[in-house]
């Protein structure tokens, strides 16, 4: 196969040449630096790492970056991922040497600035969600789920309630929910959706019982719908002695409009890389703080950030809160990410946050309306939607053979990142479209037009759609061979010749 097409890059290893590495960055060690180390503990030969000059290295990465699509490149309506603009001041903030250079085991008195920021952020998130306390430790949404469900487990156990072995999860939930339940030692009971997209109350009632530890609800759901029967649901959960967990992945729909704690949710997680615009980083890092109501505070992971009566801040000491589920990671949290979230919240204030959600929901409904009017795709649930909505290419597929996957690939040619596709699994040929509040009206209009144009192409020139993308750096990939004969690391195709260099 050819190594490079337009802008494609050889690997770092192919750029390497003996002696080509960048100049000396640090002082040379004395010749005997390692002589005190037993030979048995040392490497026999140096690792075959690439030697690349800095200019080539920079071009390598800059050219690679240009093969990528980011929010900074263009519209990224990836449903349930909240790909909103990532403010540059937040990048500046996280890199301030006072934040970036602070060692996590530095004594509390040398970390007062970071501790104060974390303490404020805990309170802000508690206020936004109407929860009684928040831990900032979890490193991601799924990590927050695990933390929250372990807190649920500890709560029931502390009450001597050992029979609760099941977690109820709607079938439209993110895959992380059932995977989390398994990791925390629970059995997942799947609850089907009702015709209107909400939780099927009868199926839910039938599954709920003395074995139920918790229900995990994503609200608004992954169908982009606010859960209409939320009050009844939570009442039933509590009547059964179980707890209500809210997956906060879609919180960007509801800031200042709905606070989970006020509705009776007992536990929730935030995805700060969605709602509070910390960047997604090509897959991470994010952060997944967890909020709980008062009865669950004793079980939160350790250490928490505390404020002393004299106004100074400190980390909880080991063993200070004996009922804690313990540690869920090293240190206190992904602080560099949390600094960005704090800055986002402060830049908005309460009215700005509410306006962000209002604009996100307005934009989603507007775009949804454009697609309903266009008629080429089904829009299965009656409006209004929350911050995202479902469209389906099922009819288009039946009429033309063009699948949602093909539509998505053709969107790339039109200059857009495709929406989330084939999720949730409960909708045939699904597209989950989330425009966010940071896209201009003309972008929304043009995107709707592009989708409708692709539908026309599907009828008139289906091959053009079926073989898309045509303008991306690469065409569709051979994923089957990648999985069947995995090549997960570089190896030189021809072994180097033996003998002297």
């Amino acid at each position: 196969m050819s190594v490079t097409g337009p802008k494609l890059q050889p690997t770092l290893f192919e750029l390497s040449g003996p002696g080509r590495a960048a100049g000396r960055r640090i002082p040379a060690p004395p010749a005997d630096a390692l002589e005190r180390i037993p030979v048995a503990a040392l490497r026999e030969s140096p690792p075959a790492l690439p030697e690349v000059d800095e200019a080539s290295l920079v071009r390598h990465y800059v050219n690679l970056s240009q093969l990528n699509w980011g929010v900074d490149t263009g519209f990224y309506p990836l449903g349930s991922c909240t790909m909103k603009y990532n403010p540059k001041v937040n990048e500046w903030a996280a890199r301030l040497p006072g934040f970036a250079s602070l060692h996590p085991l530095a004594p509390d008195e040398t970390a007062q600035g970071t501790l104060e920021l974390l303490w404020e952020l805990e309170r802000d998130l508690a206020e936004i969600s109407a929860m009684d306390a928040v831990t900032l430790q979890p490193a991601a949404g799924a990590h927050g789920e695990l933390t929250g469900i372990l807190v649920v487990r500890a709560y029931h156990r502390a009450r001597g309630d050992l029979e609760r072995t099941e977690v109820l999860i709607p079938d439209s939930a993110h895959g992380t929910n059932p995977a989390t339940a398994s990791m925390a030692g629970f059995r997942t009971v799947n609850i089907p959706s009702a015709a209107d997209g909400g939780v099927d109350l009868e199926a839910f009632r039938a599954a709920l019982g003395p074995r139920t530890a918790a229900i995990m609800i994503t609200n608004p759901s992954t169908l982009g719908l606010f859960e209409r029967r939320i009050v009844e649901l939570i009442e039933m959960v509590h009547a059964a002695g179980a707890l209500a967990y809210m997956d906060g992945a879609n919180l960007n729909a509801m800031l200042g409009r709905f606070r989970p704690g006020e509705a009776g949710f007992d536990v929730m997680h935030f995805n700060v890389h969605k709602t509070f615009s910390t960047p997604h980083g090509g897959g991470g890092p994010g952060a997944g703080p967890v909020g709980v109501r008062a009865p669950l505070i004793p079980f939160l992971p350790a250490p928490r950030v505390l404020r002393e009566p004299d106004g100074t801040f400190r980390l909880e000491r080991p063993g200070e809160r004996p009922a804690s589920i313990g540690r869920v990671r090293g240190h206190v949290g992904s602080v560099g990410i949390l600094v960005r979230a704090w800055a986002y919240i402060r830049a908005h204030g309460p009215d700005g946050l509410r306006e962000a959600s209002d604009d996100a929901v307005l934009a989603a409904n507007y775009l949804r309306g454009r697609l309903v009017a266009g008629g080429a795709f089904e829009v299965p649930y009656p409006g209004p939607c929350a911050h995202e909505f479902i469209a389906s290419g099922a009819g288009l597929k039946r009429a033309t053979g063009v699948r949602t996957l093909d539509v998505a690939k053709r969107l790339i040619d039109k200059g857009y990142h495709p929406p989330t596709i084939y999720f949730p699994h409960t909708v045939e040929e699904a597209m989950l479209i989330e425009p966010t509040e940071t896209e201009r009206l003309d972008t929304l209009d043009a995107f709707a037009e592009a989708l409708l144009e692709i539908a026309r192409e599907a009828h008139e020139t289906p091959d053009l759609v079926l073989s898309a993308p045509h303008s991306a750096p690469v065409r569709r990939l051979d994923e089957a061979t990648a999985a069947r004969q995995p090549n997960l690391r570089w190896r030189p195709e021809v072994p180097p010749a033996p003998g002297p260099r």
Partner: protein
Amino acid sequence: MVYGPHTPDDRSRMLAALGIGSVDELFDVIPASVRARPMALPAAMTELDLMARLRSLAGHNRVDLASFLGAGVYRHHLPPVVDQILLRGEFYTAYTPYQPEISQGTLQTIYEYQSLLAELTGLDVVSASHYDGATATAEAALMTCRATHRERVLVSRGVHPQARQTLETYFAGANLAFDEVPLVVDGPAAGTTDLAALQRLLEDTARPVAGVVAAQPNVLGLLEPMDEVGRLAHAAGALFVAAVEPVSLAVLAPPAAYGADIAAGEGQPLGIPPQYGGPYLGILACRDSLVRQIPGRLVGMTSDADGRRAYVMTMRAREQDIRREKAASNICTNQALCALAAAVYVAALGPGGLRDVAATSAARASELAVALADAGAPRLHPGAYLNEFAVRVPDAQAVHRRLLHRGILAGIPLAQLEPGDASLADGLLVCATECTTAEEIELFAWALRDELGAAPGATGAAGGEGTR
């Protein structure tokens, strides 16, 4: 709206298109009884005020002290090229590369990261990243249980306590058991994993062991007899997990060389700032035969429809969005940008540069050991170390506090890291890196000597050089 583009006119047009008078109508679906009360948050700040407050908060942290803090997080020279690359918006504002045709940048950088870590560890399969060293270690231990269908893991007390505590939390959730392997208390092997105790724990045939976890170097900075630990583990049918520090792998034997089946570790030393705890990089690598047990994303090389080399996320049947409750882990968001930092860092240094970082750190540590011993604080253990070691200081916590007031972060009191271990109560864990200066070492030694009231050389008999 702070960062959004909508003008009042835009909003009016959208409302008109929807045939509604107010955005409030879009929220009518929320039952009246659970609509939000106003949020009591501080008012919006201008960018100018926000930056001033952030500068002020950052200024309240003390990052100007002479620091000898380590314990898994190390202050290394950060080549500016690393952060310049991380600031490419195409990298840091992208999502997980689910659409490979427009994600080749992220995908190739992850493939290269996997390849670089495969070179360092000697293990062929490297996950695209985990949250941090502690969670990667816990996931490695869970892997051994899945692979062996056994339910008990042995963890050396030489593994970082935060990793052990995280593993304990994960194992409680999964209803799995783990036991700690003690460290040798005295003699030439003091501070390293007690092999006799390990042997006894492995002999409990009623509770067969899935995996043995040991760290190289261990949390006290000491080099462990990893080949022996691995041999004992394998003899009992258990897998062997090495918890490693990646910079050290430029000079120390790679995990594959001493028989490790899995390696886990904290990737922070590879070009990631300390940031008071994260975001960091969880390194997780394994032998080929365990590839179906490894959690997290994997990127593979393949080709596109025109035969061009290209990259894609692969073997996804292990993952939560496909397997749901049967997935290998619930991990979704990972630390891709931190993996990119690590790859750029390793490539920017090259093999010689990375070796220099490890060797210069070791040389500075030798100087530190001599200086502290001379000041009255000999090493606590006689064994070999790389760039970190414990010293004996009477009333260590009080001395540590007093040194702080002199502008010195005198490492970490072991009583704080390992409370309840009497043999470590008088210990300070200190480290040096290539960033540690001769002046800092001199200042530390001078102040310590002053605090201890010891004459130069009076108690340095135990020596700072350790065994050869």
